[in-house]
């Protein structure tokens, strides 16, 4: 966009583009601030990804353990319900004395939330395994761990993936609240846009959040299809 008016220091000498008009949708903003958007997206992906991987790494053994040792099961469900009920703003702030103003505060909070969703869904998936199938495997001479790994885990995959997708989508959205400790990824752009009433920044960052959430969901759906070939052709 070229500025035709020269010389006079006047309102008309300011280029009339979407940045000046403070439009919500502004290609000029995306073009000129690509580096900021990229950095925000990278931080967002890093926080979300680490939180989900850690959540999964803890949730799988926890769910298996809660199944093998029946007594710790109500405790697991009870603790996870309490954790999930704590609002994100409170969660991050309660972690702050331990991890300070750092990405670790946001990641820890998000791990606790995703853990809750994942443990419940994996447990539900394991519970739904038909007793006849279990008996058949035991009758074929399967041991406890081989039964778990070869029969129960594969059959629990659809429910586990459903949980992982919910966890991924909500983690992407919740990461924005991390802006309260200065590590909110795209959430930082949203609050910065708020304090400078910069609509394009707010809208673009918000849109990117939704795009990331949808992309994560579709990616996991594809992974689920690849991991459960016997389910192909079925709905869901």
């Amino acid at each position: 966009m070229s500025v035709l008016v020269t010389g006079a220091v006047h309102a008309s000498s300011v280029a009339d583009n979407c940045l000046v008009r403070n439009d919500w949708i502004c290609p000029e903003y995306v073009r000129t601030r690509a580096d900021v958007l990229l950095a925000g997206t990278q931080e967002h992906l890093y926080i979300t990804g680490v939180a989900l991987l850690l959540g999964l790494a803890i949730a799988v053994p926890m769910a298996v353990l809660a199944r093998q040792i029946r007594r710790i099961r109500p405790l697991t469900i009870g603790v996870s319900t309490v954790l999930y009920t704590i609002p994100s703003l409170a969660m991050f702030s309660l972690l702050l004395p331990f991890t300070g103003l750092s990405a670790a505060t946001v990641i820890t909070g998000l791990v606790l939330y995703s853990l809750t969703i994942l443990v419940r869904n994996i447990l539900a998936g394991l519970d739904a395994v038909d007793d006849d199938v279990r008996d058949a495997a035991l009758g074929m001479g399967y041991g406890r761990w081989r039964l778990l790994w070869k029969v129960e885990v594969p059959l629990a995959l659809p429910a586990s993936f459903a949980g992982l997708r919910v966890a991924a989508v909500s983690t992407v959205a919740l990461t924005t609240v991390g802006t309260i400790v200065g590590y909110g990824g795209l959430g930082d752009l949203i609050t910065r846009g708020l304090s400078s009433t910069f609509r394009a920044e707010v809208f673009t960052a918000s849109l990117l959040c939704v795009v990331l959430a949808v992309a994560a969901d579709l990616l996991l759906l594809a992974a689920q299809k690849a991991a459960t070939p016997w389910q192909r052709g079925r709905a869901g």
Partner: protein
Amino acid sequence: MGWVGATAEWFGDPANWQGRRGVPALFVEHMGLTVASLGLACLVALPLAVWLGHIGKGGVLAVQIGNIGRAVPTLAILVILVLAPRPPFGLSVTSALVAFTLFAIPPIITNTYVGMREVDRGAVEAAQGMGMTAWQVLTRVELPLATPLLMTGVRLAAVQLVATVAIAAIAAFGGLGRIVTSGYANRDVGELVAGAIIIAVFALVIEVLMAVLTDRVDPAKRAVRRARARTRQAVAAGSGPTPAGAVTRS
């Protein structure tokens, strides 16, 4: 561990418990916004989901709306409404209510719809066979049986609202989240941890209260309670069947 002392000190300071920015005033504001948006969301979502579930259409929409609700960050919608050009939006109660209501609708719709669809088809067909009208089937069979899941949706929405109203403080709205944001602004760990504790306890209390309410309004459980009470009365009066477990020991 200086934060423990600082938090205790904040709770002990009478100045934090009075005036427009005191805990009671902020609590009333938080509660008011939560209840108002929950009421609005129920008003919109319950009839729609019950109707969709009754006619068995719009299942994809009912389930997808839950996914959309999860994918859109609450903070984004709040900030967009604050920066919206003219009244009634901007930093106003209307903006707050619109944003909160929008976020409370998805869990209510999804759970109510699933609850309505999961009603035993046999029960519905039996009711139709008995000559019940569509309205009677809806109000006497489907709704009572769908109540537990319907209430789960309302409970999820209520707890989520408490969290969303807290987040709204980041976008300069009121409520208990103000204590937390003010703690960050003042670099006062005691203040922000105290605010976080108050919000967390508030959410947990709402969760428990809604669980109790769900138990109370579930028609199936109420019927069981009534039947038990009748049996107790009958036994006390020396007539009626001997309740199970009251077998005389030999």
